[in-house]
């Protein structure tokens, strides 16, 4: 008998005097989850709508949420691929009848939007509620989630302008969702038959031929010379001694221990998740910021305070979260760099 089992037995014996005896397989670790705790985390919504909270929201209400919290990344009409994959587009009235988006069958149709793919509307509700908006997940009320989903469904021309989505009407939406019949479980990549209802064998059948397996190798694709440098200087991405070297495909990077650039500091500080020096991403381009405040008195101090505290209203409705983790000296340097137009040579 292991030492642990003896200990466990001793524990059981000790507890038996005070309360009900515990089974041997009870380690006595952990505690009961309280109903409030389960309620706080038990946020998943299944395809059969188990877990769906009560609530409702209209297309109009959703538009307000969308324009304030979603459009900056996803585009005014949910069409943008600038930051994330497009959400809206590519579905037709006919798809709503068949339940399988016809554009998915066309090799010449490159886009695959969320509403072209998704077969279960619960998926979209669940995800918005748990993970959106991007920089403030879980900040939407349940009504706001219904509203913004109603607006998205309206953008996708699945529901009319005056639609109100709630915990009952969402079931009607499921019945007309364009790609609701678009999923197949006919594959061998789940370890049981629970989805397919039958044993499915792998769909490729190579044989381990050893000699004279074909006349000659047919090269179907190769990397164009123009793409060789697409990933920087490969010589810098291999050890400089040993059996091989990396090919020189571009200028050599900075030697080890070289001074980090301000862009490196901005990246390390998390700024570049929402900003770019020369183009608008989620927040404004640094060059726009520099242009706007050019010549203004004490802008460094004001911008420092603004970044530290966060907030919105200057560049649109998407609020910038308070940046409390950046060290004072780093933030000071970053502010000076931004107001100088974020030059790449610093």
């Amino acid at each position: 008998m292991s030492r642990f089992s003896k200990t466990a037995l001793a524990l059981v014996a000790a507890l038996a005097a005070a309360g009900p005896a515990r089974a041997l397989d009870d380690y006595g670790l952990g505690r009961a989850a309280t109903p409030a705790e389960i309620n706080a985390w038990n946020i998943d919504v299944r395809p059969d709508f188990a877990g769906l909270p009560k609530g409702s929201g209209s297309v109009d209400q959703g538009q307000t949420v969308w324009e304030g919290k979603c459009a900056a990344c996803h585009g005014t009409f949910g069409e943008s691929n600038k930051v994330f994959n497009p959400l809206i587009g590519g579905v037709t009235k006919d798809d709503m009848k068949t339940g399988h988006v016809a554009a998915l069958m066309r090799p010449d149709f490159p886009d695959r939007t969320t509403f072209m793919k998704v077969a279960t509307i619960s998926t979209v509700f669940d995800y918005i509620r748990r993970a959106m908006p991007w920089n403030a997940p879980k900040s939407l009320s349940d009504d706001q989630v219904y509203a913004v989903l109603a607006y998205m469904l309206n953008l996708a021309e699945i529901v009319p302008d005056d639609y109100v989505l709630n915990d009952q009407t969402i079931r009607d939406v499921q019945k007309i969702l364009p790609n609701r019949n678009g999923m197949t479980y006919d594959h061998a990549m789940w370890p049981s038959t629970v989805f397919s209802g039958k044993a499915v064998k792998p769909d490729t059948h190579n044989a381990a031929c050893m000699k004279n397996c074909k006349a000659a190798p047919e090269i179907a694709s190769f990397l164009p010379d123009s793409a060789l440098s697409s990933h920087g200087n490969i010589a810098d991405q291999n050890r400089r001694f040993g059996a091989i070297r990396g090919q020189v495909t571009g200028p050599s990077g900075a030697p080890a221990g070289a001074k980090k650039t301000m862009a490196d500091l901005a990246e390390a500080s998390g700024c570049l998740q929402c900003h770019r020096p020369d183009s608008k991403l989620i927040g404004p381009a640094y060059q726009e910021v520099a242009q706007k405040y050019k010549g203004q008195q004490d802008m460094a101090g004001k911008l420092f305070a603004k970044i530290r505290a966060g907030g919105g209203g200057v560049w649109g409705d998407v609020e910038m979260p308070a940046q409390t983790e950046v060290k004072d000296e780093d933030l000071k340097a970053l502010v000076a760099w931004i107001l100088n137009g974020a030059p790449t040579n610093q």
Partner: protein
């Protein structure tokens, strides 16, 4: 074997390299030492610099005298006092090891918090990935969670499935009996950029969403049983993260019941790295990385799959008929030669140890074959032990390069008898518009100059 020995001898006899080693052989610090005028270091360093620039000629000049200066002249590391213990309380790689790093693929994503960094497998040895080089895939940025405030909850879709919903602290979890096991983790989208055509230059970007670690943790089954799970009624498990995206995936209960799925806190002998889910992640051997939920905060037992965002909008495989395969999870047998590989160059003719990795989500690797002529003829590679289930297996094959064009391939077979497919076979079954589960045979073309590049052979 006799042929290989001859190959080595031929190589030694043929000292004229087909190309000189690239510059930058001297580190910045050595150059600085030369410039600072340290007399003991100066001459050797200058000669070494000449050797780096002049390639074989300088080396020949040295050997024509009495030998190499690095042997004949005392070197600074042999003639000075070294660093004390614990000078670096958490040890770091040598300053010379500054090239093999996690890297992003330019243009793949727009936002670095929902992106990928690739593991540099072109220069790694053995099967274990150093934790600091483990590939990253985050959906809403990574967090560094205070372990004293991390909680793990188990509940059920119905009170029938979990009779006692419970909460565990890290203290609780680390008191349970633990196991340590080595497993690979591969993103379902690994090699995804190559479904249509060759797209990226090196194995870091073609296959770098792959890593392998020793994980330590508690079998999820143990914890579910501790909560009074009814495995007769419940058929599916949901795993949920504590990060902003609260990432969720439906986990196959078969793997939970087999005891393979771990609630893990340890990685390669230390705690998980924050980028890999500190302080707690799910380990689902053989299944694609997205199911190995990081920053794990909750597991729920139920009787239906959840169709979460990452199993209903992403990580679904588009087939030629416009249907998407849903809940594709197992990573089928796959292999890749990591060296020589795309973007590398051979400096010389002669002997090379062709080396690579093979793995299967269905068990152990049984055999790996290597071809040097684009798949016309194959030889069996040597598998390096240990060969473990759902773990990377290192293979090696001797090769005497005659300086002529070659196409290197590897082909894995797992213990079920499944053989890794060619691109032709894979596209015949699944078309070329999918993003996920590309396990086709990888080809590296070698030309006379010694340059190696990424090509696809049907």
């Amino acid at each position: 074997m006799q042929r290989d020995v001859e190959g080595i001898r031929d190589c030694a006899a043929d000292r004229a390299r087909i190309r000189k080693a690239p510059e930058n052989f001297l580190g910045a610090e050595e150059i600085a030492a030369v410039r600072s005028g340290r007399r003991d270091f100066l001459r050797g360093a200058l000669l070494a610099a000449a050797a780096a620039v002049g390639g074989g000629r300088a080396a020949a000049a040295e050997s024509a005298s009495q030998g190499e200066d690095v042997i004949l002249k005392p070197q600074p590391w042999s003639t000075s006092l070294g660093q004390p213990v614990a000078a670096t309380p958490y040890g770091m790689p040598s300053k010379y090891e500054n090239t093999l790093l996690r890297r992003q693929s330019p243009g793949l994503t727009q936002v670095a918090a929902a992106s990928v960094s690739f593991m540099p497998l072109q220069g790694m040895f053995g099967i274990i990935t150093p934790s600091g080089l483990h590939f990253e895939r985050h959906h809403q940025g990574w967090q560094d969670i205070d372990p004293s405030r991390h909680r793990f909850m188990i509940n059920g879709s119905s009170p029938e499935f979990i009779r006692k919903p419970k909460v565990y602290t890290m203290d609780d979890l680390m008191r349970f009996p633990s196991v340590s096991r080595m497993h690979f983790i591969e993103c379902g989208a690994n090699t995804g950029m190559e479904w249509g055509n060759v797209a990226v230059p090196t194995v870091q970007y073609t296959h770098g969403m792959l890593s392998c670690s020793e994980y330590t943790g508690v079998p999820l089954r143990t914890l579910l049983e501790d909560c009074g799970a009814d495995f007769k009624k419940a058929k599916f498990v949901l795993a949920e993260g504590a990060d902003g995206s609260s990432m969720t995936r439906t986990i196959p209960i078969e793997l939970v019941l087999s005891g393979e799925v771990l609630v893990a806190y340890g990685q390669n002998g230390e705690m998980l790295r924050p980028e890999n889910g500190y302080p707690l992640r799910l380990v689902v051997p053989g299944v694609q990385g997205v199911s190995w939920v990081k920053w794990l905060r909750r597991v729920k037992l139920g009787d239906m799959p959840w169709a979460t965002k990452d199993e209903a909008v992403h990580y679904i495989d588009l087939m030629p008929d416009g249907q998407h395969r849903q809940y594709t999870s197992i990573q089928e047998a796959k292999s890749v030669i990591t060296s020589p590989s795309g973007g590398q160059m051979l400096l010389d003719k002669g002997f090379y140890n062709v080396t690579g990795l093979a793995w299967s989500g269905r068990g152990k690797i049984k055999r790996v074959d290597v071809s040097f002529d684009g798949g016309v003829n194959w030889v069996e590679a040597n598998l390096q032990g240990p060969v473990l289930s759902k773990c990377l297996t290192r293979f090696n094959a001797p090769w005497n390069w005659d300086g002529k064009p070659a196409i290197l391939q590897s082909r894995a077979m797992d213990e079920t008898g499944f053989v890794q497919p060619t691109y032709g076979q894979l596209r015949e079954a699944r078309g070329r518009r999918s993003i996920y589960h590309n396990n086709a045979i990888q080809s590296w073309k070698v030309v006379e100059s010694g340059d190696v590049s990424n090509v696809q052979v049907l």
